[in-house]
Symmetry: C3
Subunit: 359 residues, 3 copies
Amino acid sequence: MNTLHDISWSDYSALPLEEKVPLLARPDGMPFHTLFAQQFGRKQLDGLCALTTKIRFIAKTREGMDFLQSQLSHKRAMIYFTQPSSRTFLSFMSACQILGLRTGEVRDASVSSEFKGESREDSIRTFSSYFDLIIMRTQEKGLAEHMAWALSRSDRPVPIINAGSGKDQHPTQALLDIYTLHRSFEKKGGLRNRTVMYVGDLARGRTVRSLSNLLTNYEGIRHIFVAPEPLQIGQDILDMLKAHGNEYVVTDDMRKYLPKADAVYMTRIQDEWDAAKGDSAKIDTSRFKIGRAEMDMMGPDAILMHPLPRRDEISTDCDSDPRSKYWRQMRNGMWIRTALIASTFDCADMIMAWRQRTM
Amino acid sequence: MNTLHDISWSDYSALPLEEKVPLLARPDGMPFHTLFAQQFGRKQLDGLCALTTKIRFIAKTREGMDFLQSQLSHKRAMIYFTQPSSRTFLSFMSACQILGLRTGEVRDASVSSEFKGESREDSIRTFSSYFDLIIMRTQEKGLAEHMAWALSRSDRPVPIINAGSGKDQHPTQALLDIYTLHRSFEKKGGLRNRTVMYVGDLARGRTVRSLSNLLTNYEGIRHIFVAPEPLQIGQDILDMLKAHGNEYVVTDDMRKYLPKADAVYMTRIQDEWDAAKGDSAKIDTSRFKIGRAEMDMMGPDAILMHPLPRRDEISTDCDSDPRSKYWRQMRNGMWIRTALIASTFDCADMIMAWRQRTM
Amino acid sequence: MNTLHDISWSDYSALPLEEKVPLLARPDGMPFHTLFAQQFGRKQLDGLCALTTKIRFIAKTREGMDFLQSQLSHKRAMIYFTQPSSRTFLSFMSACQILGLRTGEVRDASVSSEFKGESREDSIRTFSSYFDLIIMRTQEKGLAEHMAWALSRSDRPVPIINAGSGKDQHPTQALLDIYTLHRSFEKKGGLRNRTVMYVGDLARGRTVRSLSNLLTNYEGIRHIFVAPEPLQIGQDILDMLKAHGNEYVVTDDMRKYLPKADAVYMTRIQDEWDAAKGDSAKIDTSRFKIGRAEMDMMGPDAILMHPLPRRDEISTDCDSDPRSKYWRQMRNGMWIRTALIASTFDCADMIMAWRQRTM
């Protein structure tokens, strides 16, 4: 972390994203601080997916669980969530527990702002005094990045994992989506040349933006963006795909394209971002939902994903269809976060080398 | 759990209680999902009491504590309490810690309802993705039962323990009451032919209902229900006792019957259930309290119990009387919950077989 | 604890502080219940500082961390904070984790007062049923002391550590301040004959009161109290110092005395205790702040301390100056709390005897 240590905040923050990435990396190329989905190139994604699969395998036995829990039982993690999210919180907490890390937590904005006179930077630096890792989710855009910079200059440069910051970035969500796609197509020829359809609120959901970005690491991906016009994907994402030579379709006709999709990624309407309360309710979203009839239009090997929580975008009738991967996707999040934390603390090689003792 | 897997919710929920019990059981007859006090027959109660006593004994030494903590150190439990109760929460958490389980928690209704659009079923299924056991306490009657059914049909049928649901059921409270009685009379001829007096708000407290029900598993128990008329025990409980051939008395004269009781089970006025605020305050409850004078009327081997929290039903003067068992009763709750979790994960035989290493 | 067991509350509470101390002590002279800073004489402070330094050393290696975590892995601690403080909470939690203790927590006044009819004494006795140590922080002055007395008379006399009670006492804060001074001057001739300057809200901050009190255990300490007149130190503290033969200065001229200080202890304005909201804002505190210019006036070996959280008493410009010890001071809190808990459970000798295995 010498390089991040030596740069001023104004110089650092003026850098383009691709020049920040090496400043945030470990010597092996994996992130030290995990702040953006774009820190993961193809090599990092392949390594992380392989590690995740290995961890899932190891965890199937008692002996394996004991091995995993011994990896980081001497480390402790702070889970600092001033923007609440039970599912992301519990997923990270579980990942820590699987590796034996003890955790402390701030889960409540009111608790964390108890000293109104204290800067958020001082609060987080305080927590870094006690813990070896900080996993943080906040309303403030860019706070995780600023703290990563600030801690790298202190005498306790503990790693930071961004678990969601404002509308901004949620890199581990993108990683679990990639892993779910990877795992689903692993034995069926892999991810290359797949067609991924995204449905719902593409304007405001950060997951689709990050996922489409990460998918440019794979060859020949086609993207189909399905949304009512006011909720369509941003032009910046389309420009980014074009720059990578990726094909895409922008449409409001889900049914027409459903049979062509290898993966259908549903999202909910993010009405918490409505400029005026109830704006979203005025949009007709009835044609952007999946029920039994729509599943029947999907191919036999196609998969159905959702970052959850869902409302009525996917009917509960679909839950027992083997192509529905959203519950598994949720659990994949726990596993890939486990892999990410293991990488951050340099345990990846030890885990990849694990062999079950013969009896 | 094949049987619960194969039945629809409407068919399942129409079953009488006694036909539900085998669907919720493990092969050894102990509950897989613990939902009702009635899942415990005499055999299960005897097994659980013996296991609890063994665990208490093992926990007396460092070596024994280490043994217990190794039992389930590879498992993790979700404690999902949207109806708050610090004492039940901490009792279950302690039970998990004694067996080495790591825990995650939702303790706050507002946190858990953060996504108003998400169904409670989806929330709980999410938590089941991360954890190996769900301990839940909710306002909604029957939610634990519905989730047990739903999870049994999913690809992660993790066990559920009901830690209290509405006015409904609180099976582990009944178990700790039974264990306290069992332990108190174990060396004095056992529970058979004992006279148990219940005092206080018998209409609304679920503990007395469950306890009197479980006591029908023991021979010759006599029941004395002492309450002001508007708070007397329900006719359904009296009918149930009659069907089991148990004798009972319904009275508002505590002092008359005090000398005859082997166990006096005090309860507080549950004014949180008042139809109109303050209704309970209009009832004269002054004759339903225990002080030094009343303890002097009790037999030398009689015991005094209370599920706690108390208000003024038992004077603090009584706390140091050796016949007062309510603090021990509280601690018994931690031990029998430990035994229940151990049974749920098939550790009972291993624990019963434990022998202290000779030095 | 026989002696505390045998005394009534009215007799106990009428005792002067110095006669209470032996009643709260372990056979080795260290506190069993830690309630007041004054329980620590020079011998106890020296022992605790040496243990803290040893623990910091041991914790540098994985092998050492494993050793520390094995010390109390069979014990469990209740952290009962009805007066919230994330930093003190997390510091104690970390201390527990370092020694392997599992923790349960009440962090929220509303949760803990859920049963309005229950006495606080009953609540805490409940928690003592489940845990082996109670760490408590409350608004109520003297509650920790009363509970220590009450538990010593029960059949589960678990130790209590006072983590702050009202305006009253916060003994572990004073300990971490002493340790920070001890550690800073250890290799430079020690603490004797040092000049300590306290700046800020000396009337209401309990840290300065406790620290100046503990410093009378060291020879030849000079005290400089710097504050605007309405926030100056109480006469009782000056009388106490006079009784110990300590020199002191009371002034509002920080800059005049800055060059003479070996340690500058900054504090924030405690406006949460204002009689009328905004009273503190009327006081001119501009001359009681440290920036680069003021640091330049300090000696090259002088140190700058702050109990944190800070507002603007110390400019962030000072953070990277090697004489600024407030972040280290924070971390010292975690280490000395670890040492205190280890002492409470009789692990000090085992830890002091630790030798790294030769490879």
